[in-house]
């Protein structure tokens, strides 16, 4: 570890190896894709290099004798509440390289988490609670534009039928979808797992901007295909393959910027689905250059509707930013059937650190203000609202729906279900858990069967919990919770925050 640049000497993690327990089996060496563990020929034992450890805990999980513990490096700089080690280390890195700091997954900084200031109601004495184990409980959700009114007509035989033409809808058995994660940012084993899990659960997954592998077309009824600024893999068959189309304008982890999938990640499979040559960079521009206004957005929405003969709902995904409410109103007026909002905690395979940690607003605030704005304007029924970005548990889902969401996207939670430990190094392409990597030897660590099962288990578990919480509130349908902010009370928030959330303080 001597003679390394200082940015590596001040490492983040310490590998603790219990000498009595270690049997020098070299499992850790094989599991670590960052070469933190190595075999020392001279000493005839496994050694390690703390500077290479990213804190993914793969070795710790696989050590057969429990000899390994990964800890935060206890070495501490002189206490300084302004110049925290995070800033020092970043400056050392940039002084060495002149580069833009790169990060992954969602914003980890200690901003307020409003979910943790919201509490749910439950029935006591009056309006009795419902036991979901014995009584029917409705979680089914339809995403899409709902009509302003229903008209019926009566035939000469007196048979009454619906006259109003209902816009296309996406049917979900749970108000939960797997978020857009492209084939490329994660590997094929996980794409097939998401597709199969979504199919078995009766929900949908989102392709992200990476095209659709030919083997996954069969899961089309449970797929939302995404169209982003790079238009990778976008063609008429792709657009018609799914049950909905999403125009990605922005992403919570990196609002306002595009994406660069580096050439070394464009292998044969990714090349095929993105329809670009192997080894070439896949650059997604920051904006769609055919969309500079709400009118232009309308043009793309209707281009997609024309291309699919008005069979599919079109979603528009934006990052939660300062003026989300006004933007969402424009999106709905532009003809979107679904507005997807990604909060600043939303994950990513790679984003500039400064953007990830400093741009955007909390999803709770964006959601509440958008729902309210669309209600005030009388257009809330014209589009469904889907929220994403830091949904950690079923209670977050319930709170989101009470704040006005129709459904949520889960990305990070889905990856954690298959082993992600949030080490935030996805951009290296060397994910030791076989998730954010296309290196065949690493990708093989994800067995699609097992991953499918874990995703199904997670959503089923959350589904049961949502039913329990609904039943406790005396509700037997998720519809009755939607936008029902009376079911929420807040603790520890100021009056302005309460006003934006439209929630009363606890006790009132």
């Amino acid at each position: 570890m001597i003679n390394k640049p200082i940015n590596q000497n001040y490492y983040d993690f310490v590998i603790e190896r219990d000498k009595d327990l270690c049997i020098n089996c070299r499992v850790c060496e094989r599991q670590c894709s960052y070469q933190a563990h190595y075999w020392d020929e001279n000493r005839q034992k496994v050694m390690h290099d703390n500077t290479r450890c990213v804190g993914c805990h793969r070795c710790e999980a696989f050590c057969p004798t429990g000899a390994l513990t990964i800890r935060q490096n206890r070495s501490e700089f002189r206490e300084n509440s302004l110049w925290k080690p995070w800033f020092l280390k970043n400056i050392y890195k940039q002084a060495d390289s002149g580069g833009v700091l790169l990060a992954a997954m969602g914003n980890p900084a200690p901003y307020p988490i409003f979910w943790d200031h919201l509490l749910l109601d439950a029935s006591q004495v009056t309006n009795p609670s419902i036991d979901p184990l014995r009584e029917p409980m409705e979680l089914r959700t339809y995403l899409g534009s709902k009509p302003d009114r229903l008209e019926f007509e009566e035939s000469s035989e007196g048979k009454v039928s619906l006259k109003t033409k209902i816009s296309p809808q996406i049917k979900l058995n749970y108000p939960i979808m797997f978020s857009a994660m492209s084939y490329g940012s994660i590997n094929f084993n996980l794409h097939i797992a998401m597709a199969r899990a979504a199919t078995e659960l009766g929900i949908v997954y989102n392709t992200g901007e990476g095209g659709l592998h030919p083997d996954l077309y069969q899961y089309g009824p449970n797929t939302i295909v995404q169209v982003a600024s790079g238009r990778f893999g976008v063609h008429r068959d792709y657009l018609n393959a799914g049950t909905g189309i999403e125009i990605k304008i922005g992403q919570g982890a990196k609002p306002g910027i595009g994406g660069h999938l580096p050439g070394e990640k464009i292998g044969p499979g990714v090349s095929m689905t993105r329809m670009i040559p192997e080894g070439s960079d896949a650059l997604s521009p920051a904006p769609h250059h055919d969309i500079y206004s709400i009118e232009d957005l309308r043009q793309l929405i209707y281009a997609l509707k024309e291309a699919t003969e008005y069979r599919l709902p079109v979603s528009v995904k934006i990052a939660a930013v300062h003026n989300s409410a006004a933007i969402a109103s424009g999106i709905v007026r532009a003809g979107a059937d679904i507005v997807a909002i990604d909060g600043f905690r939303g994950g990513t395979g790679a984003a500039p650190t400064m953007i990830r940690d400093n741009v955007g607003i909390p999803i709770e605030m964006a959601l509440a203000s958008i729902d309210q704005r669309l209600r005030d304007e009388g257009i809330r029924n014209h589009a469904s609202i889907v929220v994403a970005g830091g949904i950690r548990c079923s209670a977050d889902v319930v709170k989101a729906i009470a704040l006005g969401a129709d459904a949520v996207y889960i990305g990070s939670a889905a990856l954690i279900a298959v082993g992600c430990t949030m080490c935030q190094r996805c951009y290296t392409g060397k994910c030791p858990w076989g998730i954010a990597t296309n290196v065949p030897a690493l990708a093989r660590r994800q067995n699609p069967e097992i991953a499918t099962r874990k995703l199904i288990n997670l959503v089923r578990g959350w589904g049961h919990e949502i039913e329990e919480m609904l039943g406790g509130m005396g509700l037997n349908s998720i519809e009755s919770l939607r936008g029902n902010r009376e079911k929420l009370r807040a603790v520890g928030l100021n009056q302005v925050e309460l006003d934006i959330l439209g929630v009363k303080p606890a006790g009132r």
Binding site: K93, Q94, D96, S97, G98, G99, V100, L101, L102, S229, G230, R231, V234, H235, R236, L239, H260, P262, G263, M275, I276, P277, G279, S280, D281, L283, P285, H289, D290, Q299, L300, Y302, A303, E306, A307, T308, E309, A350, P352, R425, Y427, T428
Partner: protein
């Protein structure tokens, strides 16, 4: 059912017009002549296979978007987004075309006799046997070939309505990381982004240029000898990884 359908598009809402076209295609119509088109959008969008369109008037936004296969001739002008994300087929326009023409185009050809707007041919890509080609008889606005990742743009600068304008606007091919742009004669250096390698087109290049310019001349009845009587510049990116060294983990 007749194999050719003539529609007078005057006063027809775009959605009804396109629905009629789609319906006719399903019924086996292979050839369309559209009269009095005045900005109706999405004509030919996402249509597949060997279908012929002759359009008189002004083709609206996103004409031929996501199109795969048809031949389309526009006698008149085209608005923005012509051939947006087009997959295959052939489009020609005897007049001018607007902004973002050929955005993310992956295959087929677009020939414009006159001038084109801003951000034409941006993010074009080639894949395997798919090679998108744009030939522009007139001049181009800013950001021609921005982010270009593959394919060919040939800019002639001859049949322009604006004598004083430079052949291409500012930031030509900025962010380009694949494909080739050929410019007839000369482009002022200040128009070029600094990521570009500009050389005189060699014999191989001229063969390729000739192939597509010949098609251009057939389409618009121009004299190929006059167009090819001078040098062409070949513009390629210096790097296929323009942003490869930008980041630190």
């Amino acid at each position: 059912m007749k194999s050719k359908l003539v529609i007078d598009a005057k006063g027809i809402y775009y959605r009804d017009l396109n629905e009629r076209i789609r319906q006719a295609v399903k019924e086996g119509v292979k050839e369309f002549e559209l009269l009095n088109v005045s900005g109706q959008r999405y004509i030919g969008t996402a249509l597949d296979g060997e279908i012929k369109f002759l359009i008189h008037g002004v083709a609206g936004q996103d004409t031929a978007a996501f199109m795969r296969g048809p031949y389309m001739r526009i006698e008149g002008n085209a608005q923005d987004g012509l051939g947006n994300t087009m997959d295959d087929g052939f489009v020609s326009c005897t007049g001018m075309a607007g902004d973002v023409m050929g955005y993310a185009m992956r295959g087929g050809q677009i020939h414009i006799h006159g001038d084109v707007g801003y951000r034409v041919g941006i993010h074009m890509k080639a894949y395997k046997d798919k090679l998108p080609v744009i030939v522009i008889g007139g001049k181009a606005g800013d950001f021609l070939g921005e982010y270009m990742a593959g394919g060919v743009i040939i800019l002639l600068g001859l049949f322009s309505q604006d004598k004083d304008a430079p052949i291409a606007g500012r930031s030509l091919a900025t962010g380009m990381h694949g494909g080739t742009i050929y410019v007839r004669e000369y482009v002022p250096e200040y128009q070029l982004a600094d990521n570009l390698l500009v050389e005189k087109a060699d014999d191989e290049d001229r063969k390729l240029i000739e192939k597509y310019v010949r098609r251009f001349c057939e389409e618009f009845d121009e004299d190929i000898a006059k167009i090819l009587d001078t040098d062409f510049l070949r513009i390629k990116p210096k790097s296929h990884r323009p942003y490869g060294k930008l980041y630190v983990g």
